[in-house]
């Protein structure tokens, strides 16, 4: 049979600002042992700030 795909395609986005991530703007940070993906280190820092407050 041919593949039958009925799925929503979710590309990985910056967890702070929501911009779609590509090989040119991806930045990974580990928070409590879990990997989180951002578009830059500033967004990663902002995300941690927001989570802290």
């Amino acid at each position: 049979m041919k593949l039958r795909i009925d799925m929503i395609k979710e590309n990985v986005k910056c967890e702070n600002c929501g911009v779609e991530l590509t090989e040119d703007n991806i930045y990974v940070m580990e928070i409590n042992g879990q990997k989180h993906y951002f578009c830059c280190s500033h967004c990663a820092d902002n995300y941690i700030e927001r989570k802290l407050h």
């Binding site: 049979m1 039958r4 009925d6 929503i8 590309n11 990985v12 991806i26």
Partner: protein
């Protein structure tokens, strides 16, 4: 009187005990056998299943041959799936004979076919026979890890074993997993004419790699190979579909002729290890110290069964080192930082050392990413897809990690491995003249990028 009896029996046990018993007849077991002979010891080797273990039978060798044929087909050569399997079978049986059967016959070893398990700290049982040993090496490898998914076992699935020896013809394959084996099988099958889709649990494929590599590879497989890749997928159920097998997930459903489970491998530790006082680590593998000694000082472990990086060349290295440490008290260790590995999709993906994230925890780390479009050889080949990322300790300028997605990356990474093994600095690489034009120049460029803008350079500037 009592002392005399005890003395006699202890001496007899000592005399009857084998110098070395190797359990497992794959890469690690064979490497241990050869090193034992080099040290003047004739070991007993016990093996269960097909001689040669994973690599030659259902691992590296057949998968790399199938990927090669898939590559040739992508270049336009006529390659029929069934013929590809026959060709692969021929390489497997030839290499198994040359590299394992003939080798076994040319070394001094007592080979026993059967499944061994421990009955005490210094004895195993195989086929009802008790074998006592002064030293043991456990090299029993790993098996596919099958996740606990509702309906999966009832509906049925393939692992690497069936994917490399298909029991029936299929036209579509849904792959659960997004690491090395999943990517290799996805491209192999797709290029050989069978539609594939990848369903990966984590947010990116290759989640332990540099994120730039993960996304560049995903982009390539989707756009060049036409393989749909879904990430952040949680599979809730597998059931019979209208025509094939259906995978139900948090993001929707997929139906295909067959399901390939490529969700990692688990160490083969079913050896009654408690009887021997051998403990497991948190990965479910055998716990060893950095000389590969287990919690029983006379028992060593090597290869996939440790549950660390599961790599053929590492298994071989560990087998040899375990034998040397067990028999000659050599106290050898492996430099873990410089162990390279590759995913053999085309173009290859390869890595050695630490990621930037890992390095940042230990050093003041810095990194550079260079696109393959800056590499003359990639342009000449008109295969300039991909990138290379190099991580250094910003203080000492030593190279800590290199990851590459690009043509011949599996070859290029060996230079980076040597650089890390020798704790080379960026200047050591820059001062080494590289052949022009080669893909290995990409490594040099990624190192030069710490000092200058490599996009604004003529060829071969130093």
């Amino acid at each position: 009187m009592l002392t005399t009896i005890l003395n006699v029996s202890f001496t007899e046990v000592e005399e009857m005990a084998e110098d070395l018993v190797i359990i497992g007849h794959g890469a690690a077991g064979f490497a241990a056998l050869i090193r034992a002979n080099e040290l003047g010891v004739k070991p007993v080797m016990i093996g269960y299943g097909t001689l040669g273990g994973t690599c030659v039978n259902v691992g590296c060798v057949p998968s790399k041959r199938m990927l090669r044929l898939a590559y040739l087909k992508a270049l336009g050569q006529q390659v029929e799936f069934k013929k590809a399997i026959e060709d692969k079978d021929d390489i497997v049986s030839t290499l198994r004979k040359e590299k394992y059967e003939d080798i076994l016959n040319s070394y001094d070893v007592e080979y026993i076919k059967g499944k061994a398990y421990f009955i005490s700290p210094n004895a195993v049982k195989v086929n009802g026979q008790i074998i006592e040993g002064k030293k043991f090496i456990i090299a029993t490898g790993s098996s596919p890890n099958i996740p606990d998914i509702k309906g999966l076992r009832e509906v049925g699935f393939w692992t690497n074993v069936e994917a490399l020896n298909p029991p029936r013809d299929i036209s579509s394959l849904a792959i659960i997993g997004g690491r090395a084996l999943a990517l290799e099988f996805a491209q192999m099958y797709k290029r050989l004419g069978i539609d594939t889709v990848i369903l990966q649990r984590s947010k990116v494929i290759l989640p332990d790699w540099e994120p730039e590599i993960s996304l560049a590879v995903q982009n390539y497989l989707e756009s060049y190979d036409g393989i749909p890749i879904f990430t952040d997928v949680k599979v809730s159920e597998v059931k019979k579909g209208e025509e094939g097998k259906m995978i139900v997930t948090n993001l929707g459903k997929v139906e295909a002729d067959e399901i390939l489970v490529a969700t990692g491998r688990r160490p083969n530790t079913d050896l009654n290890l408690e009887a021997a006082g051998v403990k497991l680590n948190e990965r479910g593998g055998i716990l060893v110290d950095d000389e590969l000694r287990t919690t029983n000082p006379n028992i060593y472990a090597a290869g996939d069964v440790i549950g660390d990086q599961m790599l053929e060349a590492l298994a071989g290295k560990e087998g040899a080192i375990a034998a040397e440490n067990a028999l000659a008290n050599a106290h050898k260790k492996i430099d873990k930082l410089s162990i390279p590995q590759a995913v053999f999709i085309e173009p290859n993906i390869a890595r050695v050392g630490l990621t930037f994230l890992e390095a940042s925890k230990l050093y003041k780390a810095d990194y550079r990413v260079v696109k393959m479009s800056n590499v003359s050889k990639a342009r000449i080949l008109r295969e300039d897809f991909g990138l290379i990322k190099t991580v250094i300790d910003a203080e000492s300028k030593r190279i800590l990690g290199v990851q590459m997605f690009g043509k011949y990356a599996a070859e290029v990474i060996n230079e980076a491995a040597l650089a890390i093994k020798l704790r080379a600095t960026i200047d050591d690489i820059i001062d080494t003249v590289h052949v022009f034009p080669t893909m290995a120049e990409s490594f040099k460029l990624s190192v030069m990028a710490f000092k200058r803008d490599v996009q604004r350079m003529s060829c071969c500037v130093d």
